[in-house]
Each structure stands twice: as C-alpha cells, then as structure tokens.
Symmetry: C2
Subunit: 172 residues, 2 copies
C-alpha cells in the first residue's frame, strides 16, 4: 500500500542520479546512526578519561543495578553479542572491576558481579555522565526526548520478529 510517501521537497540534489534509489543520506539507518553518533560524541571523551569504552561502561552500569547476572543475561541487558561480552569481561576481570564465579547448580553458567573497585569507578564517572545527559536533555527538550524514545521503542516493536528465526518457520 503505502499510499503516498510525502514527497521530500528535495532541496538541492545537485548531481545527476543514474540509479533509482532513495537519497542515501535520508535513509533510516543513516539517520539513526548519525543521531547516535551525535549523542555518543558527548560521552566518549569523559569515559576515555577514566579508561573506559562505551561498551565497558554499559556493562558496569548494568551490573551496578543487580547483585549478579549470568553472562547471557548480561549480554541481553547491555545489548552486546556473546563474543564481544566474553572479551570485555576477560578484560574487566583482569582490571579487577568485576568478579566471576561459576554457578553451583550449573557448572556451565558464570555469575558476574561488579567489584568494589568497579563501584568506586562508577561513582567517579556517574556525575559527569549524568551532567552530560542533563545537558543533552535540556538542549533537545525533555518532552521531545521522551517522544523520541517512545517512537524508537515503537519502531523496535514493529520490527520485532521479522528478521531472525524466532519461533518455528523456515531457516533459509
């Protein structure tokens, strides 16, 4: 269906096109990528000062809110793939920011928790992080920010169960 997508008033488009595709810079993936980059650009320098990457920070934050978590659960929470998480946990453990112990009931599972040093590091970064977030919120507008996140959640929902074999159906 798609009755009629609003015609973008194509302001410039100075160059001739030979391929029938939407203007590349207006694609949804690009919009999302640029927006996210604009946001993360604000946080990265501060995290870097503390020797943390964005992903490492995500893991610490996720762990700070709970007693302990299995690796798979943590991967879901921090939105990281297993292999990435595996590497990062190895590193964080070596830096004594987290602790691990195998679950007694199932030797395959590893319970991960934040260490005292990890908590300390979080405490030293959180204020700056919150300040940056507050600045972003103020600039963009709290209401619009909430609206945006609502829409992002809806987008995620409307695409849930499209690409990945989730239930039954065919594989390929």
């Amino acid at each position: 269906m798609a009755k009629r997508p609003p015609d973008p008033a194509n302001g410039n488009a100075p160059v001739a096109r030979q391929v029938p595709m939407r203007d590349f810079s207006r694609s949804l993936p690009m919009s999302l990528l640029r927006a996210r980059e604009a946001v993360m650009r604000q946080f990265r320098p501060k995290l870097r000062e503390h020797g943390l990457t964005e992903q490492q920070w995500r893991i610490l934050r996720a762990l700070a809110a709970i007693e302990a978590a299995e690796v798979t659960e943590l991967a879901r929470t921090a939105f990281l793939l297993g292999p990435s998480l595996s590497r990062i946990l190895r590193d964080l453990e070596a830096r004594n920011l987290i602790e691990r112990r195998t679950a007694k009931s199932d030797q395959r599972r590893s319970m991960v928790s934040i260490s005292k040093d990890g908590v300390k590091l979080m405490a030293s970064v959180a204020p700056s992080s919150e300040a940056i977030y507050a600045e972003i919120t103020q600039r963009f507008g709290a209401r619009k920010l909430a609206e945006l996140q609502e829409m992002l959640g809806e987008l995620e929902q409307s695409l849930a169960g499209l690409g990945a074999a989730d239930g039954a159906s065919a594989e390929e």
Copy 2:
C-alpha cells in the same frame, strides 16, 4: 526434537540496589542503538548474500549518485571515519567494484568512482533493499517514519557544536 520449554521468565534475581542513575535500558544511546539494530537486522542477510557489509553498501550507494568523489568527501557522505574508509576502498578496489585515480591538480587527492561491476552489483541488490525498506515503512507507518527522521535530525542539530572536537566552537 527435544522440546525444551526454556525458562526465559526464570524466577531470576530481581535484586535491586539503590544506585543514583537512570535506568540504564532507557538511556538515549541505548534506545538509538536498539532501534538501529532492529532496522539493520532486516538488511544484513540480504547484503551478505551478495558479499557486502553494511559499510561497503553505504559506499557503493554514495558513489552511485555521483560521478566521482574525493576520499574525504566520501567519508563525510557515507559517515565513515578515514581509516575505515581507507581499508574498505582498498578491498572494493581489489574486487573491481570501484576505481581510483589521483587528481591531476593535487597529487594528494584520490578520486573514487564506482565501476561497471559495481553498478551491476548495485542493480542486483537495490530491488531487495528497496523492498525491505518498503516493508519497514509499511509496518511502522510512513507518516511516523517521517516524523521520526525529523526528530532525529533535530537531535543532531541541537548537539552540533557541543563535542569538544576541533573547530573553534561557535558557528561559522
């Protein structure tokens, strides 16, 4: 076989600790990341069938719309960092999907353009890509999609010139 009623809703350990931070999963960066991943998950398998990564596809699309571009210009258009682009161009050139020649007026500059093979490859992928995009548009709603992209653009704008990147601040 082995039907296995997994336990996703496992009793788990909802132990919460009082930490003075927003709920991690509701942060703007995470919302943007998840939304983008939900979208890209739809495209990646098809691109992979054609031996292309998301970034390689971005470059080909960017090049298809113009005659030729300098590397720096291409990096801006495809939203890639110089080093990434450098590596990808090396690969794409080896696969004869693009062509390069140094500018006559300035030996430092390299002019990049898509090759015949590149155009052919694009033609073979574009239909599926557009179909997927249409499906996403339909599911989420064309109007909402336009709204979302508008907001993403505004977010980007409101953060422009905040990051301590170079540039003497202010505007231009």
